[in-house]
Amino acid sequence: VNFTKLKLLGFKSFVEPTELPIRTGLTGIVGPNGCGKSNLVEALRWVMGETSAKRMRGSGMEDVIFNGTTDRPARNIAEVHLAVNNSDRKAPAAFADFDEIDITRRIERNKGSNYRANGKEVRARDVQLLFADLASGAGSSALVGQGKIGALINAKATERRSILEEAA
């Protein structure tokens, strides 16, 4: 299984439809301070089932919806798609029949968020299990957020054990 594309619409500073191809090897992401690089990482974590607004640097989950600039009005909807290639059929049973799985998460102001797999509504839990089975997901240690590499070292010894549990 591998991921092939991340698409954002109205998510944080990416108000216009944006597509990031995901390919094996090393893809560098560069740009000035404040331009939106870390927002891309948060879009990936969000579509995989992130439940904590604080880990998205917001006070509520609606902080992921584009909240406007001095020249543009705020939006009411944010949407992120992650294209998953399952041609090796390694995804869990609920997704076994698909070659391509399009996981979408969409949030609307005052209406909460929901998930879809290939257009059909699914539970948050199904999505979180899909990614957990792929050793990935919102809480995966392989998604190292900005400034978080030090947290591994500065954490208390009992907190560090959780990284081992991931490998177990």
Binding site: N2, L26, V30, G36, L40, L44, I149, G150, E165, A168
Partner: protein
């Protein structure tokens, strides 16, 4: 349960030692389960000694040494069960040029072995030059992010002009 955690500990500990020595060009490091005889309650201590230095707890290491040690541990865990994607957001910020090169070398090696897609966010021209492809994020219109694919030749020029 306990047996799985102990197995994981052995595996990660062994790999951690190998990756640490590779990243530091010598020295040694190991993990220890401390504080309780029950692995499910114990804490994970990291003991490290960069080349020529005495073994010590990681709090005495420098900022860059701690980052390199954390990278070794992260990749030791990652290699036990490689994920389809790995994201590293400005992990190279505290590193000097020699360590940036060793870090990039290790990322390349792991990507080749596992086929994982790495997304590496960086401001460091040395890291940029080691990428297979580059995307730039700009805010041509203030407050609005736009993603552009950067031609590597153009990036090389960017680097030469630094």
């Amino acid at each position: 349960g306990r047996a799985r955690l102990l197995d994981a500990f052995e595996l990660v500990n062994e790999r951690f030692g190998v990756l640490f020595t590779k990243l530091f060009g010598g020295g040694s490091a190991r993990l220890e389960l401390i504080g309780s005889s029950d692995p499910l309650e114990a804490g994970l201590e990291i003991m490290a000694s960069p080349p020529g230095k005495k073994l010590q707890t990681i709090s005495l290491l420098s900022g860059g040494e701690q980052t390199m040690t954390a990278i070794a541990l992260l990749f030791a865990v990652f290699m036990t069960n490689p994920a389809p994607i790995c994201v590293l957001d400005e992990v190279d910020a505290p590193l000097d040029e020699a360590n940036v090169n060793r870090f990039c070398g290790m990322v390349s090696e792991i990507a080749e072995q596992t086929g994982t897609a790495f997304l590496v966010i960086t401001h460091n021209p040395v890291t940029m030059a080691r990428m297979d492809r580059l995307f730039g994020v700009t805010m041509a219109e203030r407050g609005i992010s736009q993603l552009l694919s950067v031609d590597l030749q153009a990036a090389a020029k960017m680097r030469a002009a630094e």
